[in-house]
Amino acid sequence: MLALERLKERFGPAVLHTASAHGNEMATVERARSKEILAFLRDDAETAFDFLSDLTAVDYVAYPPAGREPRFEVVYQLYSTSKQHRLRVKVGVPEDHAEVASVTELWPGAGWLEREVWDLYGIKFAGHPDLRRILMYDEFVGHPLRKDYPKEKRQPLVRRST
């Protein structure tokens, strides 16, 4: 609870939505300020989220009944090894401008996680030093975890001539 309150007190309207369910606390924050907010959460003595436990995205285009806007959410699972508390920070990302600020400067461990989100969801991370595909091969066309990428779709591995 504490971290959420601290966040709301510090950033007010940039915290768009907060919730608490199943023992998880979560906050949806403004995309333009996501990096600044995450940096605060890491450095503030009371929140002290030194550990980025996970970073992923969700594609809400097919969420019943009629999909959600913005289409994507980038999800950060934060943990504080000193305070032993957790927070889930979510950032809405629209389809036509699928980009958020990279947090590799805050947590170097975000490097591969962001590459994975780029690879599978096609969300760009501005400021990432090496945003390449990671699980799929370079020649793969599309982003397979998007809901409109059919599961049955097959792509032959065709090596581009270099």
Binding site: V61, A62, P64, A66, G67, K147, D148, P150, E152
Partner: protein
């Protein structure tokens, strides 16, 4: 969420499960509860039919009434207080389900309805307890041929009478009835009748169990394996809203989709069977002079054939739009013909009308889904088929570029078409015209494209792709833009939506049309157990 309407003399305000709701006078309690998102279980009720309250599954408690009341049959009243889920109601609900299941056969593994069965859904949601009744089940005939399209299993029937009401109230032909009494009661055809009205398959849709099954669908595919995209029927100009239900690259059925302005909850049998044409007699690859050819070669050949008449005899080159094709395909071709090639002779093709099929329910005499759309994008210059036949017969044409293979030409007109200097056809299916063409290009059919069509009421509706194009086929707008490139007219669309955007800017009838949201196919098994 829209704000609740303010109370007026035409509305009624009541309390359901402690929550207040205001609804129009005459609404039943079940629908009022639905507005609050409260789900009351029912078998016999259907929002598109009258309510006989025979299944007793929707009983609710109304304050001040000694007995539980059927919510589907009880109109709302001011200051009414309804309880839909208190102990008494839940007990009644469970006990009704227990009764209903006493004589129900253990058929799920072989039943076509399994997976979309209301009985399964309600039992699982509300009861899911073992039965306390242990008596042999009453046996009844299991394969009763009630009509050309439908088989009845009397054992599975739970006597809800929805199908009887569909025949009476939707098709206006009373062909079904109940016979005998008690646990021997069965659904049967009325004496001397067959279930053969043109809307008979709606009885299969409304059947809450697997008693009525469609011959066309039964034992071909398990319902839960299907995926669905919302689209429209292309059988006639009504444009009934439907769901294309498909699996593994094949369509298995078309299913009506609720639209109060077009088709309510219904669809005609003929429209349901239109999916067969998607998989039959399709053109596999482009042909040049009757022989298969790669796309690039075929497009080159088409351009080459058209080029001479275009340069020397432009006035005798014609283009044919199609009332069978989407607005996007027609618009693309109109752009190429009028703006790119400067043609003057333009026609609109399609299937000939069938006045005998028209009724005042859904079936329309015009069996083309998009005549209005084709005319709208044709800039008022499209001439009917009769004139095309006449023009062909008197030799007024030297070359034709045709969208869609379905032209209702006279015999002499068809012969003349085969003798043209250049005949290029964009076709879904093979037929005489395609075989006579110098170049034929395979066209993606309605279940394979994203696009729009305009129905007889001038409503713009969306087609959605369920399948990839058959064989080597491509969408019409794409073929037109490729052909345009060969003929020196650049049409740089990369997706149907781009054509649509340009079209709504330029075609007055379509000005307010919306493309609608991205739709990911829904697997029916995960569609919230539709039942």
């Amino acid at each position: 969420m829209t704000a609740a309407p303010a109370p007026t003399p035409q509305t009624v305000t009541l309390k359901i499960d402690g929550r207040t709701v205001t609804v129009p006078k005459g609404t039943n309690v079940l629908e009022a509860a639905r507005q609050l998102g409260i789900d009351i279980s029912y078998f016999c009720y259907h929002p598109g039919l009258s309510a006989p309250a025979v299944c007793r599954q929707c009983l609710v408690e109304i304050k001040g009434q000694p007995k539980l009341a059927p919510s589907c049959y009880t109109p709302v009243a001011d200051n009414m207080e309804v309880f839909t889920a208190n102990e008494k109601v839940l007990l009644a609900r469970r006990q009704m389900l227990e009764f209903t299941l006493v004589n129900h056969p253990v058929d799920c593994p072989i039943c076509d309805k399994a997976g979309e069965c209301t009985l399964q859904k309600l039992y699982f949601d509300w009861d899911s307890k073992a039965s306390r009744v242990d008596v042999p089940k009453v046996r009844k005939p299991k394969v009763v041929d009630v009509g050309p399209n439908i088989v009845l299993d009397q054992e599975r029937c739970i006597l809800c009478t929805r199908c009887i009401r569909v025949c009476d109230e939707v098709a206006h032909s009373s062909q079904l009835t109940m016979a005998l009494r008690g646990d021997r009661e069965v659904l049967t055809t009325a004496p001397g009748q067959k279930l053969d009205n043109p809307y008979s398959l709606n009885t299969v849709d409304v059947c809450p169990v697997g008693a009525l099954t469609a011959k066309d669908f039964r034992f071909t595919m398990r319902a839960w394996e299907l995926s669905m995209v919302p689209s429209i029927c292309t059988g006639c100009a009504t444009g009934c809203n439907d769901e294309i239900q498909f699996a593994a690259g094949r369509i298995y059925r078309l299913y009506p989709r609720h639209n109060p302005q077009v088709n309510q909850y219904w669809m005609c049998d003929e429209g349901r069977f239109t999916y067969h044409e998607i998989h039959e007699g399709r053109m596999g690859a482009p042909t040049v002079a009757g022989a298969g050819a790669p796309w690039e070669q075929a497009l080159g050949a088409a351009a080459h054939k058209l080029l001479a008449p275009l340069t020397h005899d432009r006035a005798r080159v014609g283009v044919v739009l199609s009332a069978q094709a989407s607005n996007e395909d027609n618009f693309a071709l109109a752009r190429l013909a009028f703006d790119g090639l400067g043609l003057e002779r333009a026609y609109v093709g399609g299937r000939p009308p069938r006045p005998e099929r028209a009724d005042k329910i859904l079936r329309h005499a015009d069996v083309n889904p998009n005549a209005a759309g084709a005319l709208a994008v044709g800039r008022g210059q499209l001439k009917p088929m009769a004139e095309l036949s006449a023009d062909l017969e008197r030799g007024a044409l030297r070359a034709l570029l045709i969208l869609g293979e379905e032209l209702s030409l006279t015999a002499a007109g068809a012969q003349a078409a085969a003798r043209l200097d250049a005949l290029v056809v964009l076709a879904c299916h093979e037929n005489e015209l395609v075989r006579a063409a110098h170049v034929a290009l395979p066209l993606a059919a309605w279940a394979e494209i994203d696009g729009t069509m305009v129905n007889a009421k001038h409503m713009v509706q969306r087609l959605r792709a369920a399948l990839p194009p058959a064989g080597d086929a491509r969408p019409g707008w794409h073929i037109v833009s490729l052909l345009g490139g060969k003929l020196g007219f650049n049409l740089s669309w990369t997706e149907p939506r781009a054509v649509f955007r340009e079209m709504v800017d330029k075609v007055p009838l379509l000005r307010d049309a919306q493309w609608g949201r991205t739709h990911v196919p829904i697997q029916l098994r995960f569609a919230g157990s539709r039942g």
